[in-house]
C-alpha cells in the first residue's frame, strides 16, 4: 500500500508538489475554515497582526532551521533572545537616563551591542559541539541555563523599563496610514493627530514586515544559493563525506551556532522595539520547542540534511493561524497545544511515508 502510494505520488508532479508543501496546503485550508467560523478572522488587519506577532517566532524558526539541517538542535535560542533583549534594554536605559546622546544614537548603540553579545553563546556552544564533540542537545542546554541566568542577573528579575517612546513607535509602527478624505501618510500619523484617534486610520504594512522580509530574504539566499548553505546541507547529509571533501566542518558548525544565536539576538532586539521594554524570557515560554515544532512541520528532519527556510516560516504561520483562528472562533485556548501536537505527529508520519519527497 505504502509502496503504491509512493509510486502514485512519484508519478504525478502536482501530487508531488502538494505532498512536499502539505503544511502550506494546511495553512490555506485553515484560513478558509476560520474565515467561516471566526467573525473578523478574514481581514487585512487580523492577518497583519498574526504576522506581526509571529516575527519573533519566525526568527527563532529560521535560526533553528540552519541548526537542524546540520543535524543539530539549539535549545538556547529562547533565552539568548531574552539575554539580547535585556542587554539592549539596559544599555538604552542607562544611555537614555544620562541624556547626552540623541535617541537614534542610543537605540543604535543598544541594538548593536546586544547583537554582538548574542554571538557569544553561539560561539561557546559551537566550540563545545565542533571541537569537543559535546552533543548539541547538551551543549545548548548548558547555554539555555547560562544565558537565562545572566539575563536575570542583568535585569534583576524585572523587565527593563523607562525606555524612550520612539522604540514602540518604530517597532509597532506602520509604513502607511490612510484615512478617507485625509489621504496617505507615510511612516507616522499625520501631525496633530492624537493617539486615541489612531483607530480611525487604516494602517498597512507594519514596519516589522520590512525587517522580516529583509532578514528572511538574506537567510534564504544564504541557505539556497551560497557555498555556505550547500555545505550546511552536506554536513547534515553525510558529515564524513563533507570532511573528506575538504569542507572545514568544525569551523562551519561553529559558524552555524553563532548564526543561530545571532538571529535569536535579533529577535531579542526586535522584542525591545515591539514592547518598549527589555524582557527576560519567562521560563514557560518554550520558544525553542515551538521553533523546533515549526521547522519539523515545515518538513525538516531532526536527523539532518533536510529543511527549507520558507517551509519553516510556513510552519510558524500555521501554528499562529491555528492559535488566532481558534481564539476568534471561540474555542478554548488549550486546544491550541493539542492542535500543534497533532500537526507535529502528522509531520513525522508524512516524512516517514514519503522519505524521498523532500
Amino acid at each position: 500500500m505504502k509502496g503504491n502510494l509512493n509510486l502514485i505520488i512519484e508519478e504525478s508532479r502536482t501530487l508531488k508538489a502538494i505532498a512536499r508543501n502539505w503544511a502550506f496546503c494546511f495553512l490555506i485550508f485553515f484560513i478558509v475554515i476560520f474565515s467561516f467560523t471566526g467573525k473578523g478572522f478574514l481581514s487585512i488587519v487580523n492577518f497583519q497582526n498574526i504576522i506581526h506577532l509571529s516575527v519573533i517566532a519566525i526568527f527563532m524558526a529560521a535560526a533553528e532551521t540552519f541548526v537542524i539541517i546540520t543535524g543539530g538542535i539549539d535549545l538556547s535560542v529562547g533565552f539568548v533572545m531574552g539575554l539580547s533583549s535585556v542587554t539592549a534594554g539596559k544599555i538604552i536605559q542607562i544611555l537614555f537616563a544620562a541624556g547626552n546622546l540623541s535617541v537614534g544614537a542610543i537605540l543604535l548603540t543598544g541594538s548593536v551591542i546586544a547583537l554582538v553579545v548574542s554571538l557569544i553563546p553561539g560561539l561557546i556552544s559551537g566550540i563545545m559541539i565542533a571541537r569537543f564533540k559535546v552533543p548539541p542537545f547538551i551543549a545548548t542546554l548548558g547555554m539555555w541555563g547560562i544565558t537565562n541566568g545572566i539575563a536575570l542577573k542583568i535585569c534583576k528579575g524585572f523587565p527593563v523599563a523607562s525606555l524612550p517612546d520612539e522604540l514602540t513607535k518604530i517597532g509597532n509602527g506602520y509604513t502607511i496610514y490612510y484615512k478617507e478624505g485625509s489621504g496617505i501618510s507615510w511612516f507616522s500619523l499625520p501631525a496633530g493627530i492624537a493617539n486615541d484617534q489612531i483607530r480611525e486610520y487604516l494602517r498597512l504594512i507594519p514596519i516589522s514586515f520590512i525587517l522580516l522580509f529583509i532578514v528572511i530574504f538574506i537567510l534564504r539566499h544564504i541557505l539556497n544559493n551560497t557555498t555556505f548553505g550547500q555545505h550546511t546541507y552536506a554536513i547534515g547529509g553525510n558529515e564524513d563525506a563533507a570532511i573528506r571533501s575538504g569542507i572545514n566542518v568544525q569551523k562551519h558548525l561553529i559558524k552555524i551556532y553563532m548564526l543561530s544565536s545571532f538571529i535569536a539576538g535579533m529577535a531579542g532586539v526586535f522584542n525591545v522595539f515591539q514592547t518598549g521594554i527589555g524582557n527576560f524570557t519567562t521560563f514557560g515560554a518554550m520558544y525553542e520547542l515551538f521553533a523546533v515544532a515549526a521547522v519539523v512541520i515545515g518538513g525538516a528532519s531532526l536527523l539532518g540534511g533536510k529543511g527549507r527556510l520558507l517551509a519553516s516560516v510556513v510552519g510558524v504561520l500555521l501554528i499562529a493561524v491555528l492559535e488566532n483562528g481558534l481564539l476568534i472562533s471561540g474555542v478554548e485556548p488549550f486546544y491550541r497545544y493539542i492542535a500543534v501536537g497533532l500537526l507535529l505527529i502528522l509531520a513525522i508520519v508524512i516524512d516517514q511515508l514519503f522519505p524521498d519527497l523532500f
Binding site: 551560497t226 557555498t227 553525510n238 564524513d240 563525506a241 563533507a242 573528506r244 575538504g246 540534511g305
Partner: protein, 249 residues
C-alpha cells in the same frame, strides 16, 4: 621502469605490531593492480599510507618517479591520488552535480558582488564528465539517495576523475552491489584504463579481480608475498598465496 605511483620499502608500525613491512610495489598509468590478502594482511594500511590517512614510518612514496611527502589526505589529493571508499562519501541529500562539486563548488558573482552557486556551470561540467566516462544517470538533478548502488559508485568515481585523479584507489567497489551493477562498475574500471588512470583495486571477489586486473599483488601478515601478472597466474595460485601455503617472489 617508471611507475606513476610507487612505494619503496614502505613500513607502518602500530606500537609493537608491524602492519606493513618493507612493501615495494607500483602501478603504471592505465594499469589496474589488484591488492589481495586476508583480513589483517595490511592492505588497508598500505592504501591509507598512499592516500595520506596514516603517515608512513619508513620507506618512500614516489609519484612519477619522484619522492613525495604524503602526510595528510590533502597531500594525496594535491598529487592526484583519490580514494573511493566503500561508503563512497557522498551526501545522499544532495543531487548528482552538487556531489561532484562538493567542497569545491563553482560560484559566480551576482550583481558583481555576492558570490552565488553557479548551478548551470556545475550541471554542464557534470554532464560532460559523465559522458566522457560513458556513465548513464537518469537526471543529474536527482538526489543521490534515489540512485542505485552502481550509479552512486559511478558518481563517486566521476567526481575523482573530474578533479584530475591520476591514481584511483578503490576499496571493495563491488562489495555491496547486485550482479548487474557489479558489471557496470567493472566496465567503468575498464574504461578508466583507457584514460590512463592508474588504479589500485582492493577486492575479495576473485572473479572481479581476474576480470579487470592486469597485475595481482598479494599481501600476507604485512608483507608483499606475490606480485603476479594476471595472464600468468591462476585462481588456485592466488588463493594459496593468500592463505600462506606458497611464496612467489
Amino acid at each position: 621502469m617508471s611507475y606513476l605511483i610507487e612505494t619503496r620499502n614502505i613500513t607502518k608500525r602500530f606500537g609493537g605490531l608491524v602492519a606493513v613491512n618493507n612493501v615495494s610495489f607500483g602501478v603504471n598509468p592505465g594499469e589496474v593492480v589488484a591488492l589481495l590478502g586476508d583480513n589483517g594482511a595490511g592492505k588497508s594500511t598500505l592504501i591509507k599510507m598512499i592516500s595520506g590517512v596514516y603517515p608512513n614510518d619508513g620507506g618512500d612514496i614516489l609519484y612519477n618517479g619522484e619522492v613525495v611527502k604524503i602526510h595528510t589526505p590533502m597531500d594525496a589529493l594535491a598529487n592526484g591520488i583519490e580514494t573511493i571508499y566503500q561508503d563512497l562519501a557522498l551526501a545522499e541529500n544532495l543531487n548528482v552535480y552538487s556531489n561532484i562539486f562538493l567542497g569545491r563548488e563553482k560560484t559566480k558573482k551576482r550583481l558583481g558582488l555576492f558570490p552565488v552557486l553557479d548551478h548551470g556551470y556545475m550541471y554542464d561540467e557534470s554532464v560532460g564528465i559523465l559522458k566522457k566516462l560513458d556513465i548513464k544517470i537518469p537526471s543529474l538533478r536527482n538526489n543521490v539517495r534515489t540512485l542505485s548502488g552502481g550509479q552512486r559508485q559511478a558518481v563517486a568515481i566521476s567526481r575523482s576523475i573530474y578533479w584530475n585523479a591520476k591514481v584511483l584507489i578503490m576499496d571493495e567497489p563491488t562489495a555491496a552491489l547486485g550482479v548487474a551493477q557489479q558489471k557496470q562498475v567493472l566496465d567503468l574500471v575498464n574504461s578508466l584504463k583507457g584514460h590512463g588512470i592508474a588504479i589500485i583495486l582492493i577486492s575479495h571477489q576473485m572473479h572481479d579481480v581476474f576480470e579487470v586486473a592486469d597485475r595481482i599483488c598479494v599481501m600476507r601478515r604485512g608483507e608483499l608475498v606475490g606480485n603476479l601478472v594476471k595472464k600468468e597466474t591462476t585462481t588456485e595460485e592466488i588463493v594459496s598465496l593468500i592463505v600462506g601455503s606458497e611464496t612467489v617472489q
